[in-house]
Amino acid sequence: MLEIGFGPGVVGLLDPSFPLEWIGTFASVAAVAPLEGLDTVARILIEGLGKASIYFIIAIGLTLVFGLMGVLNFAHGAFAMVGSYVGGVLMVLLVASSAGAATRIVFFVIVVAVVFALLTAVGAALEVGLVRPIYDRTPMYQILLTFGVGLILEEVARIVATARGIQPEPKWSGAQATIPSALDAPSEILLTLFGARIRGFYLFAIVAGAILAVVVWAFLTRTLYGLYIRAGSEDSEMVEALGIDVRRAFTIVFGLGTGLAAVGGVFLMWDPTAGPSVLLNLEVLLYAFVVVVIGGLGSFKGTVVAALIVGLADSLTTWLFTSGTVPFPGLSEVTLFLLLVIALVIRPQGLYGVEEVGGH
């Protein structure tokens, strides 16, 4: 079920010809618009790639869990939200107001590692305690269970955040303030290269997303557990017959999926359009679904490609609708779901998906 590109998928990602194809498409669209220069093209592209990285980070955990276990994890967004809050708490505790950009980024990496470890343990425990007893039922019950877990986590987060005085502020600005000013302001690198005023955060996201993609890919193709996971998603009965403990693989993958969701949450803490909030739960959940479904449920390659498509389309439409080329500002919010609908109408099983996976 989990279709991981051994070579072609990730080579496709790293292969210069692939992104260039997209650059070509979007550049030609942008070139049609009058009075727009290189800075606009660069802005759309780099913001798009930055958004694509964030979409990838929040969706990849969902892909892993679905690919191996066939469980559509509706608590994914809630895990991201919890990760965002926990990461925020740690950052606020660690970062003094005088800390420089480099220190803050080092702390950020430490926080990502801590949150990942923490939430991986939580996810594994949840799998053993709640999900494991209901594998023998129809897939719908696993959806329902994880959805219920998400509801509970959301309310608990709301109670804690209210009690600690973080809510009812829509976003927790205290955690957002820990972003180094170099990432919050227009990036100097991009200004000198293209003359484009883009937040440094997007550059940071591109680097982080690329690193994470390579790490997950290496885990899946270079480690023993990655092998178990790939084999288990092909035919879990056969793997079990060969003496591999599939149940333990399920636990580990659910834990990893949870940890990756939380890492996504930590990134969204610094995202200028997101920030730690209870609402992050549903936002992340819906975005992750769109990416995973367009890419084909359970496909690593599909997640990478879909994240790129969605990210670039998102930044392109945001630009189109805010620059006044198309006079309907709200439409940029529809883009994501329109893409989902169009993708499913044209290619029901997703770009790299196998048809009817997880159906019943």
Partner: protein, 409 residues
Amino acid sequence: MAHIAVIAFFAVYPIVYGPLTGFPALDVGVGIVDPGAFFDAFLPATTFLIAMLFLGLFAMSFDFVSGYTGYLSFGHAAFYGIGAYFIVLVANGKVPGLPDSTPFMLTMLLGALLAVVLALLIGAVSFRLSGVYFAMLTLGFAQVLYQLVRNWDYVGSNPQQGPNLAGPTPEVGVPYVDSLSIALGRLAGDNFKNVLGTGIDVSATMTSYYAIGIIVVLSYFAMQRIVHSPFGRVMIAIRENEERARAVGYNVFWYKMAAFAMSAFFAAIAGALFAAYRSSASPDTTFYFLVTADALIVTIIGGIGTLAGPLFGAFTFEWLEDVLSSQQGGLAPYLRGGLPESVLNADVAGVTFLDVINTAIDGRAPLYLGIVFVLFVLFVPNGLLGSIRDRLGGTVANRLPAHLERYRR
């Protein structure tokens, strides 16, 4: 029999509720006992029962397609929203060809037919897929509609808040026969003093409750009729084994489409009742993904695949909402007012009991609902009504008399 008992219970409930909460407080020496306040805190108020009615009908329509054909319609809120927005827009004179004086019942049916058309369009695309993909595609369509309505300033001056109902309160009844029409609406509806000389006053809220209740009951019996017809048997056959149903010779695609369309019809009626009662509609309470989720939760608690189950699930839902609400008649104000000062301020590890009430009880219905939901998924997968049926070995109406017979003598 069971139907009559349930309907009678809900019909009598608001009449009994008044006297029960009206019990005077008694001083029994050691302290004050106030049964009225107790009932007020633990019995759902009529306003919550009205919410139960339209949520229940919406959940039934969701269960009609998801519980009986097995296709999880994750964007069902789209039809609910169509019904609700159609009422408000027609009443505001914003739908071309329909004057703002169009009778409510007519508007409701037209809105429901519009939902049917939409369902056929969505279904034509979505039924090419099944399982998770079907759920995602319906969700995608609903979210597109949600975002469009949220940003379309034609529907209201502030589309994110949604339009309000201008003009007269919608009247339920037979169209064009004024003497049979009763105005709905929480505050602006009809009320009747001393009905038929019985001394019972029917308030505006109670009037809405009965008027909406009649439509919900009629819709329930219509759906129940369909489910028990040969058509309903085919729906169940599709749920149990679609391949086999196709092999037997049924054109499963059209059966699924028809079931989806009928379900959309009743979902739109539920939305219309909601909008008429609330005199407004907003994207977040009609078209949003969480509205479908409410129907899903209620259906699971009540019993998926049992048409009446969602109503009992909705009752549980609204009861929790009422008990845990912050307003008068909730548990938190009751505890705060009823418990002695010394208990409220008892300090355990820096946390007083009052803090516990304020953080863990006051307005925390979603938390407990989530916990109840997870417990149901884990331990009571067939829901309230489904489990009772399993226990009795058949539907309650058929099996309960025989079951009771055993305990007679």
